[in-house]
């Protein structure tokens, strides 16, 4: 199981250690959780025979063993705190430490969701005020913090779109989605039973009003837009686009994954957008945690507020309360009240930045992205060369004749100490390299990244194709992993 043939001792290179699966470690009788055996005497008699499991195939370890194991594993990870992580559409900005300090206060971590209202006023205040702040930033009238992630925010939004039209007695079964959209958009629509109609982008990389106009029929429930779009471009015709949709009785949903390009500069609500979800782990700096937990609040205009998930926090003369009775509500999308500990972090982030800080974050994110765009476009093909917002998209077209593809460039970047950009997305760009620097990166870092990208373009193709060379493991075989999936360690 654990053989790593090129390693003959515990140490691999530098301070990276080999480490087996936890199931191959430990010895009988060890535990890191002390429970006195006397306290558990007699429990078997309290359960009927046959109800108790005979085997519990878990390893047995002491606390130092567990700490060392997971510390060693952690050292195999690249992270924002260790280096530049320009993963497009993911907004890998720095997560301020004070947010974690605050979120770990027992007054937040130790509360139970069913405590009486008098004893959770602080928590309800955080929810109420964060909703207000997010509404102000996006130009929406009401916000729910219940959705657990961006994809759930989308789903919540599209369920509201569906409920809204049904309430008005209209049968609208189609949703228009540009071909540059995130995959979650069509997937969320499908879950709501909508038929997805793809709308092609034009040569500018934008959605053209004409392309929308011809498809915008009375059967269309909504346009689902990402703005700025996944090419990092602002949909310049947004006012025209939202007018076309509204004229035919449709709604405009905006995927707010790219809100880091707009905060404090412009508001989607002012542009005719009816619903928008936000990713607190992107725009509002909550840590990504290796892939969650995030949070995906949804903001809506007043005409959609009655459909929001319940319960909602209300402010009354006697403080904050939770209200359940919203007859038009789509219902609950999550148990309890959302990812509260994530919400506390975003709330803290907003207070620490203030209105000026939010605007400066946006401006610098856009400045950094345009700097990369201009400095790299002579070497890497830039299919849409115009002012971008928070990210820009290159391709491997100039390198492909030498046999170097996007994947190779991505892997080679690791040898230079950078996390690769998002690759092969958006799907409308062949061999896409989607770069999002965020506002927290220094010009010095960007310059080093630019230098690395330029050098890779000059390197011997074989060196690039066989990269990475300096990581703990070489390139991994993803094809055979999917062909014969091994998803769990064998049971002893």
């Amino acid at each position: 199981m654990s053989e790593r043939p090129d390693l003959c001792s515990e140490a691999s290179s530098g301070l990276l250690f080999r480490e087996p699966l936890i199931f191959e470690m430990g010895a009988e009788g060890r535990t890191a959780v002390q429970v006195s055996p006397e306290e558990v005497e007699g429990w078997r008699e309290l359960l009927p025979p046959g109800y108790v499991r005979e085997s519990l195939p878990l390893p047995e370890l002491t606390e130092p063993e567990v700490v060392r194991h997971y510390t060693r594993l952690s050292q195999w990870n690249f992270c924002v705190d260790s280096g530049f992580y320009p993963l497009g559409s993911c907004t890998m900005k720095y997560s301020p430490k004070v947010n974690d300090l605050v979120a770990s206060l027992e007054g937040f971590t130790g509360i139970h969701p069913y405590q009486p209202l008098q004893w959770i006023q602080g928590a309800l205040c955080v929810i109420y005020e964060l909703e207000e702040m997010l509404a102000e930033i996006t130009g929406m009238d009401a916000v729910t913090l219940q959705p657990a992630a961006g994809a759930q925010g989308e789903l919540t939004g599209m369920l509201i779109v569906k409920a809204y039209h049904e309430h008005r007695g209209e049968k609208r079964r189609k949703v228009l989605i540009p071909d540059s959209a995130h995959g979650t958009n069509p997937a969320s629509c499908a879950l709501c039973g909508f038929e997805v109609i793809q709308v092609p982008s034009d040569t500018r990389g934008l959605l053209a009003p004409e392309a929308l106009e011809t498809r915008m029929t009375p059967e269309v429930a909504a346009l689902m837009l990402t703005n700025p779009n996944t090419l990092g471009l602002f949909e310049e015709d947004i006012l025209e686009l939202t007018r076309i949709v509204h004229d035919k009785g449709g709604l405009v949903y905006c995927d707010g994954a790219n809100l880091n390009a707009l905060g404090g500069v412009a508001r989607l609500g002012d542009m005719g957008v009816d619903l928008v979800h936000m990713n607190l782990h992107k725009t509002f700096s909550t840590p990504h945690g290796g892939g969650g937990p995030g949070a995906g609040p949804l903001g809506v205009k007043a005409h959609l507020a009655p459909f929001l998930p319940a319960p909602r926090v209300e402010k009354g003369p006697n403080g904050f309360a939770l209200r359940e009775d919203y007859p038009l509500s789509i219902g609950r999308v999550k148990a309890f009240y959302g990812h509260f500990a994530v919400l506390v972090r975003a709330y803290t982030y907003l207070l620490s930045n203030g209105p000026q800080g939010i605007r400066e974050a946006t401006e610098t994110a856009v400045l950094n992205a345009n700097y990369l765009r201009v400095r790299l476009r002579d070497v890497y093909h830039l299919p849409y060369d115009r002012i971008c917002k928070h990210e820009c998209v290159f391709t491997d077209r100039n390198q492909a004749p030498k046999g170097i593809r996007t994947l190779d460039i991505a892997k080679r970047l690791m040898d230079y100490g950078f996390h690769p950009p998002t690759i092969y997305f958006p799907l409308i760009v062949k061999g896409a390299l989607m770069v999002e620097p965020t506002e927290t990166e220094t010009k010095e870092t960007l310059d080093r990244f630019i230098e690395a990208m330029k050098r890779i373009a000059q390197e011997e193709p074989e060196v690039v194709r066989s990269a990475p060379h300096t990581t703990f493991l070489a390139r991994l075989d993803e094809v055979s992993a999917a062909r014969r999936p091994v998803l769990v360690a064998p049971t002893p």
Binding site: Y70, P293, V342, N353, N368, V488
Partner: protein, 453 residues
């Protein structure tokens, strides 16, 4: 703010390189009419000391259950979170990484999730598990959706009232668009699933039947009843979904894989995740190998690198939204990675002996609490075959009892009438390893005083 580095001279240099004269020029693609002219109406900015003070003040306006004598459970449990666990999950390398799309620089997260998947499979007695979902309720909704994919065309789901009411609400919301008939047969007077009714409802129109065990009332369901129902489900080819909301129970109870589960949906909060007012928690999802390509969510699989070394990657992505778009098995994009890591660390720390003892201690404490309350005049314990929760019928209304207990700084049980008027008078209590014998005596004395008046 202090998080932004490129200002002043550096900003000027960058603008020159871009070929524009001001930052405003970078936003000229946004229609002038909607560009904000003034600052947003937001509080702040506050320096760090003031920020911390404000947040401490807000936190101080909550009275955390962890600092009180609390008997609240019902899907969110006051278990001890080991210090070493909190330390490990806050390591930057885990905490500030993202989804491990690039396996060569993400082996730490990938191996930890592979271990997590193995833990979930072993605890539930199933063959495969995914990398986690948002919470137990979304796991259950995804399980129902998966059953609907596997048994296409069937129009009914059986979701008895022994399943957590909020979970049932989430299922109704998320599967609503499928226009299924969701049958919710009531529990028996002894707070168990009604096996005869459930079996009668099971026919070839049903895609799946759900059993929560221990159920929402804390009752450990009758094994013969469960096995009969599983058998009946097999006969009509409906999927048998077992929901586990208190996963610590798997430290001693028979795993669902041994009583016929096709899918196990579970909540993992008990494994080292703070209550945090209900989130983030952790959805567990396990099933049989045969259904692996119908599973929702991320999966980590084992493979080898170009030099033949063992390693881990995200796998079977062709099920997922970024490849299959509207035909994906789910719209879910990430997992609950850091919470899954917490669960893996928790289970590693507890291990075989620790987990069994923790579970046993929960059973003992709960029985001690039942016995203590049973001695109070007019107090009725409805069902005693329990893990760490049980329902009592106190001689005074639960709402009044809770009010009086609050005055003594005690968080009593949950007044179940908040969910259903049929449950008027039912009081759901939870004890964990953190509940001491003295705590139980304090509760008993307090109730006696209250009831006596």
């Amino acid at each position: 703010m202090s998080y932004i580095p490129n200002r002043h001279r550096i900003q000027q240099e960058m603008l020159e390189a871009i070929g524009v004269s001001s930052v405003e020029d970078l936003f000229k693609d946004i229609p002038e009419s909607v560009r904000l002219k003034g600052p947003l109406n937001l509080p702040g900015p506050f320096p760090e000391w003031e920020l911390v003070r404000r947040m401490e003040d807000l936190a101080g306006r909550n009275r955390p259950a962890t600092r009180l004598l609390s008997f609240l459970g019902a899907g969110c449990y006051n278990h001890h979170v080991p210090a070493a666990l909190l330390h490990l999950i806050q390591r930057s390398e885990f905490y500030t990484a993202y989804t491990p799309y690039q396996p060569e620089v993400s082996q730490g997260t990938l191996q930890a999730i592979f271990e997590f998947q193995t833990y979930v499979a072993r605890l539930t007695g199933m063959e495969v598990a995914n990398a986690s979902l948002y919470d137990g309720a979304s796991s259950l909704a995804e399980a129902v959706l998966m059953a609907q994919r596997i048994r296409k065309g069937r129009s009914r789901v059986i979701l008895p009232t022994t399943v957590h009411p909020e979970y049932r609400q989430v299922v109704r919301t998320l599967v609503g668009p499928l226009r299924l008939e969701i049958l919710e047969p009531p529990e028996t007077a002894t707070l168990e699933a009604d096996w005869e009714v459930l079996k009668d409802l099971l026919d070839s129109k049903v895609s799946c039947v759900v059993i929560q065990n221990p159920n929402f009332f804390g009752t450990i369901e009758d094994l013969d009843g469960i096995r009969d129902l599983a058998q009946r489900a097999r006969e009509v080819e409906a999927l048998f979904i077992v929901l586990i909301v208190e996963p610590l129970s798997l430290g001693i109870l028979l795993p669902p894989g041994e009583y016929g589960a096709d899918v196990v949906a579970a909540e993992g909060q008990s494994f080292g995740i703070p209550m945090s007012f209900g989130g983030p928690h952790l959805g567990l999802f396990a099933t049989r190998s045969a259904f692996v390509r119908q599973m929702p969510g991320r999966l980590v699989g084992q493979t080898r690198d170009a030099r033949g070394n063992l390693g881990y990657v995200l796998t079977l992505a062709t099920r997922e939204q970024h490849i299959r778009r509207e035909r994906a098995t789910s719209n879910i994009c990430t997992n609950q990675s850091l919470c899954a890591l917490a669960a893996a660390v928790y289970l590693s720390m507890a291990g075989r002996t620790g987990l069994q003892r923790l579970a046993a201690l929960n059973v003992n404490r709960t029985r001690q609490a039942m016995d203590a309350l049973d001695g109070i005049e007019g107090f009725h314990i409805v069902q005693r075959r329990c893990f760490n929760e049980f329902v009592a019928r106190p001689p005074v209304p639960p709402s009044l009892l809770n009010q009086r207990l609050m005055e003594r700084g005690i968080l009593g049980g949950l007044d179940l009438s908040r969910f259903d008027s049929r449950w008027e008078g039912l009081w759901l209590l939870c004890c964990t390893e953190k509940t001491s014998l003295e705590d139980i005596q304090t509760l008993r004395k307090s109730i006696e005083e209250i009831v006596d008046v």
